[in-house]
Amino acid sequence: MILDALHRFGEYVLLIYRTLTWPDRWSVFVRQTFREITKLGVDSIGIVLIISLFTGAVICLQMTMNIRSLFIPAYAVGMSTRDILFLEFSSTIMCLILAGKVGSNIASEIGTMRVTEQIDALEIMGVNSANFLILPKIVALMVFIPVLVIFSNFFGIIGGYIVATFTDIITVAKYEYGIQSYYKEFYIWYSIIKSIVFAFIISTVASYFGYYAKGGALQVGKASTNSVVISSVIILLFDVILTHILLQ
């Protein structure tokens, strides 16, 4: 088990090493990267929007119910909604969801290319297949996931705002006051930094599982499931590590 894990980690490192070189053709690389941004990133805006909106609303509702107390001011609801979104939801939870959506997509795409010999075909032409296929995905996610995270922060706040507007459990004024009080700009940077690291994890782990898929369609499916599980665990692990480093 441990030996197997070490073996896989070694393969992963070697793959990343082969991936992180200058592209042979910059024009091709740039085109591929934009294609990936559209396919993996822009197409995820919808799901990010919906999930963030609802989660923001639910957090706001739950906060109101839980901290209804004389000693805690009502605007604390807005404040804690904001902090939960910025600190954990919009970066970590969002990236876990994206690991499912985007990661499985990457793993199955590359896995299919592996089992149908498309990767062999690239290698035979003298193309560095790892660099050609994986680098654009890494760059695309590291550029675009932070954008999605900012969207998520924004729409989460809007979600809470909607609750404040359409229910009478908290007034809009107090919510507004809450989301502006004790604001720390660093929290935004914290969530962006985390998301960049998570983007790297999602893209490379998914690519690794796809690239080393063997067999047929069934194994590609398994590779894609494995990639989601493993990248989620690694994301959570790095969440702890990064929080320790950045917020201490």
């Binding site: 042979d24 053709r25 091709v28 299919t112 290319m113 149908t116 010999e117 498309q118 062999d120 075909a121 290698e123 035979i124 032409m125 003298g126 193309v127 560095n128």
Partner: protein, 258 residues
């Protein structure tokens, strides 16, 4: 010229290739024939370096592939055109983009020249009007032809074809054989073709090696294949009714003469 010396290859302890030796000359169509599962695909994958053999050498004009630096291998590979058994077209790219791909990566010509070249290759394999379709939108035989067009796009020095005409109708099959044989002679390409199609063997078999269960049993030409006394080769060749009848007719004619 490609030379194969003492190639051994096994998977998980199962011996697939044993002591294969062969010489594939430039300007000739070299055929590797053998039953399904005999190890033809594994052999060509060892030849191009997708598998590394357990032992043995593959010499490209006397330089050993399995001793080259990575950069040298990549340079060599830009001179190899390979057709995979399952076509291996890039499924996110259109037919034209597939054929353009090697040109985009390696050719320094103008876009116009590259497009012309791609169209020329597509025409040579008799494909017109499918430029913008995806591989999933054309038939298996057409995919094969696109793959051939892609393999010859860069005017390769070495052309390796794994079953170029499986899944093609006899007429297209013949056309593909002729095409491969023509460009081989025209550009003095070192061509290796895996096949178990006897029509191809009789049509373009200038140099044939016969593999059975991972062992090279026989080498010769199409002229020699009919009269060989090798039992397994005879079984392979005359498995087809047609060829058995041809052989019988020939024997009959000979006995009449004698």
């Amino acid at each position: 010229m490609i030379e194969v010396k003492n190639i051994f290859k096994s998977f998980d302890g199962k011996q697939i290739l044993s002591d294969i030796n062969a010489v594939f000359e430039a300007g000739k169509t070299n055929l590797i024939i053998g039953q399904s599962g005999s190890g033809k695909t594994v052999l060509v994958k060892c030849i191009v370096g997708l598998f590394s053999p357990d032992s043995g050498q593959v010499l490209y004009n006397n330089r050993n592939l399995h001793g080259m630096k990575n950069s040298e291998v990549r340079l060599l590979r830009s001179e190899i055109g390979m057709l995979f058994q399952g076509s291996a077209l890039f499924d996110s790219m259109s037919v034209l983009e597939n054929v353009m791909f090697p040109l985009t990566i390696f050719s320094k010509e103008s876009t116009k020249a590259k497009l012309d070249r791609a169209h020329f290759c597509l025409e040579r394999v008799n494909l017109k009007g499918v430029d913008n379709l995806l591989p999933s939108e054309i038939s298996g035989g057409m995919q094969k032809r696109v793959a051939i067009a892609r393999a010859i796009a860069l005017n390769p020095k070495y052309l390796i074809c794994d079953e170029p005409n499986s899944g093609l109708d006899p007429k297209t099959s013949l056309l593909i054989d002729e095409l491969i044989s023509d460009i081989t002679a025209e550009y003095q390409i070192t061509t290796i073709i895996n096949t178990h199609d006897m029509n191809s063997v009789m049509g373009i078999g200038e140099n044939i090696i016969f593999i059975n269960k991972g062992i090279k049993e026989w080498t010769g030409t199409k002229e020699g294949i009919f009269n060989s006394s090798n039992k397994t080769l005879n079984e392979f060749v005359f498995a087809s009714d047609l060829f058995r009848k041809v052989k019988e007719a020939e024997n009959f004619a000979q006995s009449q003469e004698g």
